[in-house]
Symmetry: C2
Subunit: 320 residues, 2 copies
Amino acid sequence: MPTLFLTRNDVRGLLNMADVIEAVEQAFRDWAMGKASMPAKAYLLLDKGDLRAMPAALAGSAGMKWASVHPQNCSLGLPTVMAMLIYNDPETGYPLAVMDATEITAYRTGATAAIASKYLARKDSDTLGIVGAGSQAYTQVTAHLELFDLSSVRVYDCSQAAVDKLIHNLPESPLQACTLEEAVASDIVCTLTPAREPFVKREWVTPGAHINAVGADAEGKQELEPSILREAIVVVDDLRQASAAGEINVPLKKGLFRTEEVRATLGEIIAGQKQGRTDEKAVTVFDSTGVAIEDIAVADIVYKQAKQRGGYLSLDFVEG
Amino acid sequence: MPTLFLTRNDVRGLLNMADVIEAVEQAFRDWAMGKASMPAKAYLLLDKGDLRAMPAALAGSAGMKWASVHPQNCSLGLPTVMAMLIYNDPETGYPLAVMDATEITAYRTGATAAIASKYLARKDSDTLGIVGAGSQAYTQVTAHLELFDLSSVRVYDCSQAAVDKLIHNLPESPLQACTLEEAVASDIVCTLTPAREPFVKREWVTPGAHINAVGADAEGKQELEPSILREAIVVVDDLRQASAAGEINVPLKKGLFRTEEVRATLGEIIAGQKQGRTDEKAVTVFDSTGVAIEDIAVADIVYKQAKQRGGYLSLDFVEG
């Protein structure tokens, strides 16, 4: 029985954002309805970074993403985050595919934020603000443009070069450079920075806005002034993970926010078990930390597309 | 930067038992001395089996084995246990290799038991008893023959065909078929069955014997009468794992054994931190559940041998 091997280039060629959004939305719905399983991430701490195992199973698919986070890699010309994914047949455990998961991570992160915006932002949202124009910004823009008819996407980064590069690389999107304050004043805001101190001020956020807080993904990180969370309708991808490493982690530790104040998980809202936005003037915040069901849902697309198209590297790995 | 892809056949050709024993012994020593790290296994439970992530880091190497256990696979002509391993550079997180880990698992399990025998069995041990002639039996025999000058290896299995096959496939080893009682009456005994009820009787065990209890690897499994454990010097690979899923798990739950009665871990004995056998007449038991440091130590050999020999499949997986 063959195992498929898919490089980063292969994976990139097999993904499109509309499919990813549909699959990730379904994965969150299934998870909320008890049809998916996802144990806690297992962290392997190393001197210069860490490696983390992210296993999950959905109806008909199972697997595990193994991602490295090494902040000093940029000085070596290597990505800070690298990831591989093993995709298994849940019926037999057979490893059907091994694939690079760098693109999968980027696509599913963008898709999840856009899905959160779909359920939490005002239906008439017209402007998107991107705070942080690094590699995560691309899929945030493309995913939101799949679901929203936006008149403008305002981009801020402390590096003007990063802003210019993003605008240059997405020539068909309505991107424009702006100040931090202007980006935050959008109908939908995506914060995508590695900040450890809150820099998004309460006074810049407009009534009725929706914020996807994506940057905080480790203990000690935060992007938003805690007063924003206190007044907002807060939704998380996974309460345990968000409490430990998401946007709410520092405010929780400082006693400025309580887990009971979290309105719902994204899955509960998608499944119709809880309500998200109940007031056009309210600010909504989605705390995104990234969960393995997103990765497995996307890996399932990649595998099926690769099988259908054919021509990819295939080895009889286990028996051979 | 290339990532190596090594199939089961490739891995088999790169391993030899003497190297594996040396590397696994060093891994246990380093772990006891705080120079290795190993978080708990993460289990993904599925309808027909499970998948488990086993991450570990040693000095200079890191990685994760992802193993499936699906008991109904034999009816489909597939192995019950399959495993892949991602081997990373701990300095950067880069995935240096992806390899089949079926052979790695078999080699390291045999090597670990033989290392336990080296430290716990009497120096003049002359006979080895193998209880259960399935796939694990091969490496138990070859590993013990590396370290002991044995006059006979007695093999018992409820399937005569399995015994015949093992003897046929190891023509240069001093193997002979025997009864269960005869196998258990050896100087060194390896129990390798999936039993859920104790079948190794106290009265069959000879004074001064050493038993490697390898079969129990999940809650509810056990092979030895609890009276054997109560009277023996008991050593484990990992106390947390042995308590949950090893030979001691059922006696612990039934109150027939206490964790305080465990003498030491194998690593502590290898590192000279604790004593193993202190009496020539005592029975010693090693409770082997299998730990990820063993796998990563062997993967390190495989990777270095493959790099040295060259000619293996290599792809620019992450960048490409």
